[in-house]
């Protein structure tokens, strides 16, 4: 029971720290579900990347211009 309360308190603390200070009690229920969804999604992320695999962001100096 106390771990559930701890989890709820941690969620409220996190919400405050990221500026979500105007949430109602109902909104906190939504936020808890959002947190669970995010956990599930990130858990399903494939992890088989080595450090050298597929650099994500390749910065090109200067902007690419297209015509039109």
């Amino acid at each position: 029971m106390s771990s559930i309360n701890d989890e709820a308190a941690a969620l409220r603390d996190f919400a405050t720290r990221i500026g979500l200070t105007k949430l109602s009690e109902n909104h906190f229920g939504d936020l808890e579900r959002a947190w669970q969804t995010a956990q599930t999604i990130t858990r399903n992320m494939p992890r088989d990347l080595s450090p050298a695999d597929e650099p994500a962001h390749i910065y090109l100096a200067g902007s690419r211009q297209v015509s039109g």
């Binding site: 105007k22 939504d30 936020l31 959002a34 947190w35 992320m45 690419r64 039109g68």
Partner: protein, 466 residues
Amino acid sequence: MSELAYLSLADAGELIRQKKLSPVEYTTALMERNEAIEPQLHAFIKMTPDLALGAARQAEADIATGNYRGPLHGVPFALKDIIDAAGIATTCHSKIMQNNIAKTDACVTTKLTQGGGVLMGKTATHEFAIGGPSFDLPWPPARNPWDTSRFTGGSSSGSGAAVAAGMVPAALGSDTGGSVRNPASLCGIVGMKPTYGRVSRRGVFPLSYTLDHIGPLTRTVEDNAIMLAAIAGPDTGDPASADAPFTADGEALRAGIKGCRVGVIRRFYQEDFDADPAVASGIENALSLMQALGAETVGIDVPPLQEFAAVNRVILLSEAYAIHEKWLQERPEDYGALCRARISGGAFIRAADYVNATRMRAKLAHAFNECFKDVDVVVTASSMDPPLAIEDAEAMEVSYGRQARAPFNLTGNPALSVPAGFTDDGLPLSIQIIGKPFDEASVYRVAYAYEQAAEWYKKHPTIGVA
């Protein structure tokens, strides 16, 4: 009246060019019908009858004086209400934006109106293209014209309903995880998510900067190609847009599929998810027909659908949260519950997960595109389920993740949802056809051959029939 309602864009355009169909009479007839059936469908956030009639009159006058602009001239269309049209509210189906009057046109709006298209109004969407179907917003959700107790699919829900119901021959939607192809699938019409970069997103409210695509919904494949040709092309206002215009080539469209190699991803709907039996048999029947038309089908393997889905969601939610953070902090009560809950998920995704998702995206795209060494196009499921009851929120939430569209938002390949028959209850089924990047032409060629042989496009909902 139903003859005009279900006239294809191509046929309407040709009749208008030959001056056998008046744009004013055509627009007026659709407007009158739309007013009658809209209360059952809720397809539109706002109809724009005065603007439409003005544009139709202008089209008629231009054509009379020899200034014919092309296949869209005098033809009605609609825009998903996240796409700007100057002087009209872009609400994103949300209280947050309900008084947001667009100052300028989106790039795609300009292209369609410069082509002589007649804007009939702005269509319903899921709130900010993610939260729906919802009943706690200023406007109700759109309903499926094949059965108004059913969901249209989303998020381009009103565009799907309006096209399927014969309210307009074409509409635009946006697609970030499948939002053009989902309503196309569930409403029995054709929906294209073009190659990433093919169509400018300038003037379209973003959901996810690197996954958003704009695409057309129509009742036929040929109409879809005409619409894509009208909206494609580079735009300095969208840095991701590519210098790659698209031409609707009727001869190429009708070239047939003899000798065409069609890859089939069965794992998405047989292993990763168990599709509804009607959906699975619809796909197999479509493949048999393609074989009968001379295509060769070959099974191909790709990474699990769940990997694509997770990477798509991590990127989508992270980017969506970045877009909505300020409003979630300041006006959380002005969102519908579903939209707020879905977008809030982005607050809990770590930067490392986002970065790794973008890296994994490149790896998945490479893995998928390897298959095009052996095949011309790929076929798989679009939706795993026929349209569900719109008020069954629990089933809807389960179904939300049961789809095979998000992989191609990640890879950027063109992907088309095409009707593939009906359930025993008369609800639409679909298949999805995917092509190489910037090879929408092959996708349309295969889809057209199948469509013409299967003839599902000849069946329409009975809504509005006295």
